[in-house]
Symmetry: C2
Subunit: 109 residues, 2 copies
């Protein structure tokens, strides 16, 4: 059977915090959907050996990479190179949903 | 400067063949946008050591993985594990656009 997930169906928001919903995780990468209500954020952090992409599906976020920030809108993708501090924050008035890819997948503890 | 690309802006169709537009390529992955007019396809092929995702942004495609086929609609993502034969075909009447993610990036010759 072909493994298929729906990011439309998995999309879920919570008033408590950013929702991270995993679509796929293999030995080589993971792909998550992040759902952010206005005001929610993923704090800046870094991965020594993995590159990450944030692709905005809906709404806008402020993306931070390596000490810089900028607005990232629906239809835009930002690269977070390995070792760079990065995060996203919804500083806007609408919900935001992102597709997030990272490779290699980190060891989750 | 944060590296940002717009898959909305890069989206481009050609009557000649499927368009593959690269968003990002690093040592660890690549991310492309595929744009398929009705009738266009990516022939089935395999990568020994890389996993791939097809994420449909617009329209529908028929996805093939490991000898099986199924329809993949906007908002759905299919996993093509390393070694599996895979491809996509637009068998429908509307244009289709996909975000394609593969890790590790293959050596392009």
């Amino acid at each position: 059977m072909i493994e298929v997930k729906s990011f439309a169906a998995l999309r879920r928001f919570s008033p408590d915090k950013l929702q991270k919903l995993n679509l796929f995780e293999t030995d080589r990468f993971f792909c998550d959907v992040y759902c952010l209500e206005p005001g929610q954020e993923q704090k800046a952090h870094a991965h020594a050996g993995s590159d990450k992409l944030y692709a905005v599906l809906e709404g806008s976020v402020e993306v931070r990479v390596g000490g810089e920030t900028r607005e990232l809108r629906a239809g835009e993708v930002a690269l977070c190179p390995a070792g760079s501090e990065h995060g996203v924050a919804n500083r806007f008035s609408s919900r935001a949903a992102l597709l997030v890819f990272m490779a290699p997948a980190p060891v989750r503890t």
